[in-house]
Amino acid sequence: MAPLDEIEAAIPALRRYAVALLRDRDAADDAVQGCLERAIAHRDRYRNEGSLRAWLFRVLLNVVRDDHRYARARAHLTIVADDRFPGPSQQGGQEAHMALVEVHDAMGRLPADQRAALVLVAVEGMRLAEAADALGVPEGTLVSRLGRARAALRQMTHRGAGSDLSAAPGLRKEPLA
């Protein structure tokens, strides 16, 4: 049984993940709400196998995949321009701001499964085993997604050898499903 205190403590991380996945603040909080309701209703199913955080992230991902209400947000994943991003530009100048905008845009063009994998490792700092658990995929699949995500991001932000965006691997526009 997952303790309510630990579920509550995970809300900030769940919101961070949902915003990165959905790129829409309101849709993200709706998804977190759905995740909390489902996790609380099914908390007897959490059996201390793997981390509670990974279990909660898996529930959140399922909520996003199951719920047709996020279809609109998903459909716009690749073209949405949210002017509330990027948030923190105070520590950098215009150049840093532009770099963040570029990364945010590049994240929007990543396939959803690659984006989800990269956020877990880069932002949440999860080890491979935990991130694979959170995504419900084998570790090898996760590593493959991470590799493709990092290579695509590098090319899209013009840091790689080539800047031809169409050459970036896995750059298909597809919904989060």
Binding site: R16, H104, L118, P169
Partner: protein, 261 residues
């Protein structure tokens, strides 16, 4: 990007992970590894700058309240709350019981809907939010055919103390999945869950409101769910769910006719 580059990257990802959990040597002492690690560190820093601040914001009240309701439900219910479905049921009941007290003051000041009506609407919304997203047990008694619908009607009649047949919303494309009985201030409430071909779910929530004056059809909204409610001849009814407002209104009209007929 060659296959060899991809394999090298994947290998580096594994070695970096091993190092970070103290299970391997530090990777990337030079050459290509070092360049990749530096690039990945820049990517991680940018991603943390983009998405990290969301985690530092205050948690919205509605999310905190979701856990709070469950905590109060678990405390009130004790061991009984551990049985399947009970936490959600308790949460819905507590919302129902508390909503009148909490919202009555505001409603009175606004001269708007009655506290009882708001309690009804809040309970309907909470019930829908709690159960409609359930995969395994969205209803307590499932309905697969007309015989089941009859059994559900008998169950509701027994528990609510009055005849109550689930409205047929087939003309609007919604099929009855089943229902459940919930605790309510006036004994028991009935919740019926419907679903259309696209998986949209709608809850019809009915609770006796003895002695309450009749109301017109009123809009209820809360936490991303909305719907319509009314009180007619001592029976409070709400139709809430995941459909557009006009569709919900049509469903409410159909339910009203069925219940009044």
């Amino acid at each position: 990007m060659t296959d060899r580059t991809i394999l090298a990257d994947e290998d580096l990802i594994r070695r970096l992970d091993a190092f970070e959990r103290s299970a391997g040597p530090a990777p990337g002492a030079g050459g290509r590894d070092a360049a990749s690690l530096a690039e990945w560190a820049r990517q991680d820093a940018a991603l943390r700058a983009l998405y990290g601040p969301v985690g530092d914001e205050p948690v919205p009240d509605r999310l905190r309240a979701t856990v709070g309701r469950a905590r109060r439900g678990a405390a009130t219910g004790g061991r009984a709350a551990l049985s399947r479905g009970a936490p959600g049921r308790l949460a819905a009941a507590i919302v129902f019981l508390a909503a009148g007290a909490l919202l009555g003051f505001a409603a009175g000041r606004l001269g708007g809907p009655t506290a009882e009506g708001l309690g009804l609407a809040q309970a309907a919304l909470a019930t829908h939010r709690t159960y409609a997203s359930e995969i395994a047990h969205p209803v307590e008694m499932a309905v697969a055919g007309s015989a089941d619908a009859g059994r559900l009607a008998e169950w509701f009649a027994r528990r609510l103390g009055r005849p109550l047949a689930p409205p047929d919303l087939g003309a609007e494309g919604f099929r009855l999945l089943g229902g459940r009985v919930l605790p309510a201030p006036n004994g028991a409430a009935a919740a019926m869950l419907y679903e259309d071909a696209t998986g949209r779910r709608v809850t019809v929530f009915i609770a006796p409101q003895p002695g309450r004056s009749e109301t017109s059809l009123r809009l209820a909204r809360g936490e991303g769910t909305e719907g319509w409610w009314w009180i007619d001849r001592g029976l409070g009814c709400a139709v809430v769910g995941e459909a557009p407002r006009e569709v919900l209104k049509a469903l409410a009209g159909r339910a009203y006719e069925a219940l009044a007929g």
